[in-house]
């Protein structure tokens, strides 16, 4: 490990200001981003930066002078410099070719080569653009057509496939940013957010629903209207249905990947009339069998 004073080219008696000046002078010359092709410059820059880390900090410098720490001081963390990216495709937003535009004006073979690569660069594909689109639960089951308004005021028609799940990403080919020249446009990537529904919840390909029924429907059975994502249907509730009884509506769930549809599971919930009813009270108080039935003993229901 070299002596940091030698690295910076200053005397051990140099003032803090002199050390900073010496560092700036060397660093400007050696900074890897200002010497993109020079591997040796990077090594030297690290050495200089390490020396300045030590001597630029009064506390560390004192400890070094007293022999408490060696010249390695604290190692600088690995850093990826801009030059590591700058010639890659990812930095094309920054690179600038105007500095040698005049070369391509002439007639020779070199100019022709330059022109060809210029054209290749000119035909750059556009980049992908990301959007988020919230849709209703019902739309996620049945599919839908949505129109997305873009930040620039344009619109994008998006076809939501039936059975889509929350967080799914749709790719619209060629609907992203325009490419330059003959470059193909990028894609629009649309992350779809499914808003939860008050009534339905999804379990795989099935959807479930809690359906309130009246006491008379529970006791006597009957036909009731049940909402499904594709509209209301009529379902027959059997006599003596209870809270928790689950009925299955075949094919009213989400589309299955393998074809067909999942089911809608309807969980019944018996709801008493809101206001107390004297007739019902009179009936229940005279109903002998109701007094001897203890639901705690009857765990089968």
């Amino acid at each position: 490990m070299k002596n940091p004073y030698d690295v910076l080219g200053v005397a051990p008696t140099a003032s803090a200001a002199d050390i900073q000046i010496a560092y700036r002078k060397l660093a400007k010359k050696l900074h890897p981003d200002l010497n993109p092709g020079d591997r040796a410059a990077e090594e030297k820059f690290k050495e200089v930066a390490g020396a300045y880390d030590l001597l630029g900090d009064a506390e560390k410098r004192k400890r070094f002078d007293n022999g408490e720490i060696d010249a390695s001081g604290a190692e600088r963390p690995q850093q990826r410099f801009y030059r590591d990216f700058a010639t890659s495709d990812r930095s094309h937003r920054y690179t600038d070719t105007s500095g040698f535009a005049d070369f391509t004006d002439s007639e020779d073979a070199f100019a022709e080569l330059l022109r060809r690569s210029e054209r290749a660069r000119a035909n750059r594909p556009g980049r992908d653009v990301h959007y988020r689109l919230p849709i209703d639960f019902v739309e996620s089951i049945t599919g839908a057509s949505k129109r997305l308004t873009l930040p620039d005021g344009g619109t994008l028609d998006v076809k939501i496939p039936a059975g889509l799940v929350d967080g799914q990403v749709l790719r619209l080919r060629g609907k992203g940013a325009r490419g330059t020249g003959k470059g193909r446009p990028g894609d629009a990537l649309i992350e779809v957010e499914v808003r939860p529904d008050r009534r339905f919840t999804r379990e795989g390909d099935d959807i479930s629903l809690e359906l309130p029924i009246s006491l008379s429907e529970a006791v006597l059975g009957g036909k009731i209207r049940v909402p499904t994502p594709t509209g209301e249907v009529t379902m027959t509730v059997p006599k003596g249905s209870n809270t928790g009884t689950t009925m299955r509506l075949k094919g009213k769930g989400a589309p299955r990947r393998s074809g067909g549809h999942g089911d809608e599971l309807v969980r019944l919930k018996v709801v008493l009339p809101k206001s107390p009813d004297p007739a019902l009270e009179a009936f229940v108080s005279n109903w002998e069998k109701g007094k001897t039935f203890n639901p705690l003993e009857d765990r089968t229901s």
Binding site: K28, P36, G37, R80, F81, S91, Y94, F100, L114, R121
Partner: protein, 94 residues
């Protein structure tokens, strides 16, 4: 790695108004989308260079502007040279 603005600020130890100024000057051109700004590794490395120029080397804004312009041209030229070298190695039939 993609960062949002807050993560980017934290990573570099920058003030919001400093970053906003850099963006305004178009020293940094991160990708924008409907949800906000996405900063990539390239932007991070470039921001480090700008930070080095400003704080360690004491360049003023005009100096930074000029250096970035020259560095961008240098990399443009390096990119084309690299491509040319590739083309010379594998001649295309014309």
């Amino acid at each position: 790695m993609i960062m949002n603005k807050q993560e980017f600020l934290t990573c570099l130890g920058l003030q919001v108004h400093t970053l906003d100024f850099w963006l305004e000057q178009r020293w940094l051109i991160p990708e924008e989308n409907a949800a906000g700004i996405d900063f990539s590794d390239v932007d991070l490395a470039r921001a480090r260079l700008i930070r080095d120029l400003k704080t360690d080397f004491g360049f003023n804004d005009e100096g930074v502007e000029m250096i970035l312009h020259l560095v961008d041209q240098l990399h443009g030229l390096r990119g084309v040279l690299e491509q040319l070298a590739g083309e010379l190695q594998t001649p295309t039939s014309r």
